[in-house]
């Protein structure tokens, strides 16, 4: 660690922070934390006092960069991490409140500006050869609590001492009496005399803090990056505790941000209003980018778009990166952006696809056989001769695992407010990386950082997406082109899905055996050769800034350095990106032999498709491969995979601890059954539904996690249901147990979205997904029950990371459970029903005939083509777990309605109208409208289950259903049949009514964008129905139809 070098970069502007003691002119004091030089950094006031800086609103006296106390005695904590749901604001507040003996009513938070004193000193990347601290003002890598725990306790302890000294002065008592004072309910009280003074009055009067204080608290400890910490307080009130429920009011310190998030007052980036920034109004910008990622664009129809309602400006930004439409409302900007026609100059990605023979997945697979050109392979963990040894080991197996590109899908899309005010370029942005944001503003505005300012807002989901600052540069670029007017730039969900920085595709090849060179012994630790093909995220992000956004790289050393520090790849020319191998390189398993090889495409073959940091980054795929493979190779060798793991964790007591505890609470009892026998049993069982538990564990960010999933698989449909999860974590001392539980619950669900649903596919540079209809995340009814336990450590054990920790184990625990239930191995994420069926070795083929036919006997052929079309089949529905549910999609595979909708949809405070409006919405993925006002108060509805259709229904079968009164009955009774002239007359009336009058049938021929219309037309359908019933009336019957 070399702070000296780093500090010099900040030059005069930041030398301000170096003074050891800084007294405010107003008499207030500043309390900081010690820096490495032994001084304590003091900062922030000039920023914090600036009008509309951050959310600072309480006029206050500074207690350093972290603590402010107002004249009313309100304590405000400056939070130097971004709050994106992980509860970091509550962390800052509870650490300070603990020392100052106050409750949550007296404390609030505000976000720090981009300043050196706020950098994160705990971000450590396990590099190829050494651990390198990153030192950036960054919220990521699950490092916040680790970084904050000691420094905020020290800052608060210093504030406490300052208040005590000021109180003694006010009481006319000597400083030696300091031990006789206590803090209570926002006051300093002298125990013997009973004199008391409030924080507010003392903050006005307090003087500088003595250096004695810091000496007493062993400042040098801050130098330590590892090891135990002093616990400055004996009886903790908040830390390490779940606050008890109090009758009639909320528990103290569950979360300090919760109230604002349940009443709509929380201000996320997208919620920043002119009143927050001191403006009268904003303009709203939406950027239109080329569909082929990385293409350069210009507008074709500028004057047409300029003339659309409320459009104020149309500007081209960032060297053709996009065309920004600026309007006076968000809606007008979105609407006008849809009208933009682009000239597109394709970039390198025009040849990039994920699928097919030349797709990236196949290229990676081929690379294992040296059939892909331009690949470098680095032996990250060398092990000479391991491959030969394994190849000679009986029972050694080989398996490949694939993970796709996945999006972050933060529910708050990218957005940023930018403006020039008083010569200062300012952004209000939901960012995880204020320091890079500051550099981005500077670059986009073309002014030095001293004339730029970043205000960090609440973040509606980060997950690593907001470490990249593309949207911030866009906002500044737009504002700059319209003379610095305040602009709120918003990405639509479609923009956000297509133009993400995705978790890269990774393909793993594993070769291994639970025992080397013989029968597995009780303490075997086996051998694994592990090869990974993936792509360096660090290199991409750095290159992206150079090539796509920043043409003049020489002037942007600061930004590059900020990113390079994350991995040191670009600066040190190290060929390896730690993010590609993390979780595998520093695996918690002590295998008898371990070989790890990292492969990448190089030179001109490096994909230009954007990749980035996605919650748990490399761990998200390395743990999947390792945890699945251990189960797989153990079951092939009839070895208990849990016992094998225990052997390999013999040096890691905390990882072993969570493993043992999760077995206890879940009751998971692994079998050592051989896979092939298991498969045969399942095949012969005659039942579709199979259920079992599965296990996975992992260590990273200094912490350990173990999980068990209870999963069932329907082998007839490929549907996976995750019933329950048990998770145990060990992340050192847990400051806020309930918030850690939130993180674990959410982390499992985040991991399950990727395990079961999310996948981005690319064809010729175009992302094929755009919104939640084709790239959904886990929904309420798909979410398992989750039981979380914490293996709590004492308060002097440094807290370690937890935000990303649970994510990597979700997918392997499910895959292992599926294997335990069926003997079937899922090696490619996501485990969609189609993939499950493929893994089972059964291929479903749906063939449906879309040819419209003419009249006569062949009229039925046409009716059949309509009735077997997805537009009809979807509403007629399927039976799922005994419930009649509609399906969605255009085929060949139809999915159950994404929400849990059934034919007996009760009134639950909403109904179909909650989402399905009167008209089709002209957006792909939007719910269809209710048949164009054909029926007042129309609700979507379903026929009885006897009338369920299929895409591959036979003609005779269809005819039999339609003419059978037992099967064609609706809620008003049967629809006649062919048994008598009366029955035929009834059938004619009912069937003609359905095709002529039912608004849903109308709708099938005008279903809106993104849905294929039923073949032919409504008129054709009416005519064909008439012809077919006429044919029946002539005495013809279903048996005469060809099948």
């Amino acid at each position: 660690m070399n702070l000296t070098t780093r500090a010099s970069k900040f030059k005069s502007r930041r030398s301000f922070f170096k003074s050891t003691i800084f007294s405010l002119a107003s008499g207030g004091i500043l309390v900081g934390v010690p820096t490495i030089s032994g001084a304590f950094g003091l900062a922030g006031c000039k920023f914090l006092k600036r009008k509309s800086s951050g959310f600072a609103s309480v006029p206050s006296h500074g207690f350093g960069p972290f603590i402010k106390i107002s004249a009313e005695g309100k304590v405000s904590v400056v939070c130097d991490k971004s709050e994106m749901g992980q509860g970091v604001t509550s962390l800052f507040c509870s650490l300070v409140a603990e020392e100052l003996e106050i409750n949550s009513q007296l404390i609030s938070y505000e976000f720090a500006p981009a300043e050196e004193v706020y950098i994160n000193r705990r971000v450590v990347i396990p590099l190829y050869v050494a651990k390198v601290p990153v030192h950036a003002q960054i919220t990521g890598l699950s490092s916040s609590t680790s970084d904050v725990y000691e420094k905020m306790r020290l800052a608060a302890a210093a504030a406490k001492q300052a208040l005590q000294i000021a109180a003694l002065k006010k009481f006319g008592l000597p400083q030696t009496q300091i031990e006789q004072t206590i803090l209570k309910e926002g006051k300093v009280v002298h125990l013997k005399s009973g004199q008391a003074a409030s924080f507010g009055e003392l903050a006005q009067a307090s003087g500088p803090i003595s250096e004695e204080f810091f000496k007493r608290y062993k400042l040098g400890s801050y130098k330590k990056q590892e090891g135990n910490l002093p616990a400055p307080k004996a009886n903790l009130r908040f830390l390490g505790k779940v606050p008890p429920q109090q009758p009639g009011k909320s528990a103290d310190f569950l979360r300090v941000d919760a109230f604002s998030k349940i009443n709509g007052s929380a201000v996320f980036g997208i919620d920043v209003l002119p009143k927050h920034t001191g403006h009268e109004r904003f303009l709203f910008a939406v950027v239109v980018r080329g569909r082929e990622i990385g293409s350069s664009v210009s507008i074709q129809n500028n004057s047409e778009v300029q003339s659309l309602p409320n459009v104020k400006h149309v500007v081209s930004i960032l060297n053709g990166r996009g065309v920004a439409v600026v309007a006076s409302t968000t809606w007008h900007a979105i609407s006008a952006a849809r009208q933009v026609k682009l000239n597109v100059t394709p970039g390198k990605n025009v040849q990039f696809s994920t699928e097919g023979e030349s797709g990236i997945v196949q290229k990676y697979l081929n690379a294992f056989d040296n059939k892909t050109p331009n690949v470098t392979k680095i032996p990250v963990v060398p092990s000479i001769g391991i491959e030969n040894q394994l190849r000679e080991t009986i029972g050694a197996i080989e398996a490949k695992y694939v993970v796709p590109y996945v999006p972050h899908s933060t529910l708050e899309p990218m957005n940023c407010v930018a403006f020039l005010d008083g010569g200062i370029w300012t952004v209000w942005a939901p960012t995880q990386f204020p320091e890079a944001a500051l550099a981005a503003v500077s670059r986009a505005a073309g002014v030095p950082e001293s004339r730029c300012r970043v205000v960090t807002t609440l973040i509606g989901g980060g997950f690593g997406r907001r470490l990249v600052t593309d949207y911030i540069m866009e906002a500044v670029s737009v504002s700059k082109l319209i003379n610095g007017q305040p602009v709120k730039l918003i990405w639509t969900r479609e923009d956000d899905t297509r133009h993400d920085y995705f978790r890269p595709v990774a393909v793993h090849k594993m070769l291994g055996s639970p025992a080397l060179g013989g029968e597995p012994a009780a303490n075997s630790r086996g051998g694994i050769k592990h090869e990974i093909m993936s792509q360096s995220i660090n290199s991409f992000v750095v290159q992206d800034y150079i090539a796509c956004i920043v043409p003049d790289k020489l002037k942007n050393q600061k930004l590059l350095a900020a990113f390079a520090r994350i991995g040191a790849v670009a600066l040190n020319n190290l060929p390896l990106d730690p993010f590609s191998v993390e979780g595998a390189y520093e695996t918690h398993y002590d295998f008898q032999r371990h070989n790890l090889v990292s492969g990448e495409l190089t030179g001109a073959s490096v994909p230009a498709f954007p990749i980035g940091y996605w919650r748990s980054v490399g761990h998200s795929h390395t743990a999947f491969a390792i945890e699945c493979f251990i189960d797989e190779m153990c079951s092939e060798n009839s070895v208990n995979a849990i016992e094998f793991r225990k052997n390999c964790l013999h040096k890691n007591s905390r990882a072993l601890g969570v493993l043992q505890r999760v077995l206890q609470i879940s009751g998971y009892n692994p079998s050592a059954q051989k896979t092939s026998q298991h498969k045969t049993q399942v095949k012969n069982s005659g039942t579709a539904l199979h259920r079992a538990k599965g296990f996975a564990c992992h260590s990273g960010w200094g912490s350990s996690v173990a999980a068990v999933a209870d999963v069932s698989v329907d082998v007839s449909t490929g549907a996976i249901v995750v019933h329950e999860f048990w998770v145990v974590v060990d992340c050192g001392f847990v400051v806020q147990p309930d918030i850690v539980k939130q993180q674990v619950e959410g982390g499992i669900i985040f991991g399950l979205s990727a395990a079961l649903k999310q996948e981005i596919t690319v064809i010729n540079g175009v992302v094929q997904q755009s919104n939640f209809h084709d790239c959904d995340i886990l929904r309420y009814h798909e979410s398992p029950k989750i039981n979380v336990e914490i293996n709590q450590q004492p308060a002097n054990v440094n807290p370690t990371g937890v935000g990303e920790l649970p994510v990597p184990v979700a997918a392997p625990a499910v895959a292992n459970a599926v294997a335990n239930a069926t003997g079937m191995r899922l090696r490619r994420m996501p485990f969609t029903p189609v993939r499950v069926i493929q893994a089972l070795g059964v291929f479903l083929m749906f063939i449906f005939n879309l040819q419209a036919r003419s009249d006569g006997k062949t009229a039925f052929d046409y009716l059949h083509s309509v009735a077997s079309h997805p537009r009809c089949v979807n509403c007629h529905g399927i039976l799922k777990n005994g419930e009649h549910v509609p399906t969605v999609g255009n085929g060949p595979v139809l999915q159950p309605h994404p929400m849990r909708i059934t034919s007996v949809y009760p009134n639950l405070g909403g109904d179909c109208i909650t989402c399905h409006q009167k008209e089709n919405i002209p957006l792909v993925g939007a719910p269809p409208g209710a048949a164009n006002n054909l029926m007042k108060d129309f609700l979507w509805q379903m026929p009885p289950t006897t009338m369920i259709l299929k895409l591959n229904i036979g003609k005779k079968e269809l005819c039999e259903i339609w003419t059978n009164p037992q099967k064609n009955a609706g809620k008003n009774g049967d629809r006649g049949g062919v048994s008598s002239p009366e029955a035929l007359a009834k059938m004619r009336k009912e069937f003609m009514h359905h095709v002529s009058d039912d608004p849903l049938v109308h709708w099938a021929f005008q279903p809106g964008i993104g849905r294929t219309a039923a073949p032919g037309s409504r008129e054709q359908l009416i005519s064909a129905m008439d012809s077919w019933i006429g044919w029946l009336e002539q005495g013809n019957r279903c048996g005469q139809l060809s099948n």
Partner: protein
């Protein structure tokens, strides 16, 4: 130009932008930012408001279809409760539901509409009602607990 009149949180408002989704009218014209933009196609539920007491995705209903109706947003959900906090909101605090919080106003509006007509919903009814509201942070287990906690407390006041 036609003018559409309706009521938002007890106040009469009007708009001439017939096709503008209610969501953007609430956010850009009334500064009511509790209803969030998440998908624009009724797939995520972050924009959920009540129209005449029923949950509706405000990102897909155009202003013209709100004519004459009563809209309630999260900002006024608790206005009829004594302490200004709706029982569902209180349950959300007690179960410590929110993480990033972006979806929670929509979740709460959806749950409040459910409990208004089904004071004690079954697990299946909760699933049906809540399946249209996405949460990326994964707060579903706590949403379930909070709805259970609030059961029987809505409509009883």
């Amino acid at each position: 130009m036609a003018k559409y009149n309706f009521n938002v949180n007890g106040k009469q408002v009007s708009s001439e932008d017939s096709d503008m989704p209610l969501l953007w009218f609430l956010r850009d014209f009334l500064s009511l930012t509790g209803a969030k933009y998440g998908c624009g196609i009724a797939r995520c539920g972050a924009c959920t408001v009540h129209i005449d007491g029923k949950s509706v995705r405000s990102c897909v209903i155009p202003v013209k279809d709100v004519e004459g109706k009563n809209v309630t947003t999260i900002e006024a959900l608790g206005s009829s409760s004594e302490n200004g906090i709706h029982p569902v909101q209180q349950a959300w605090l007690d179960e410590n539901v929110p993480q990033c919080g972006y979806c929670q106003c929509g979740q709460i509006m959806q749950a409040a509409a459910l409990l208004q007509v089904k004071p004690n919903p079954s697990d299946a009814e909760i699933e049906i009602a809540m399946s249209g509201n996405l949460c990326r942070c994964g707060t579903y287990p706590r949403i379930k607990k909070a709805i259970k906690l609030a059961s029987g407390m809505v409509g009883a006041q």
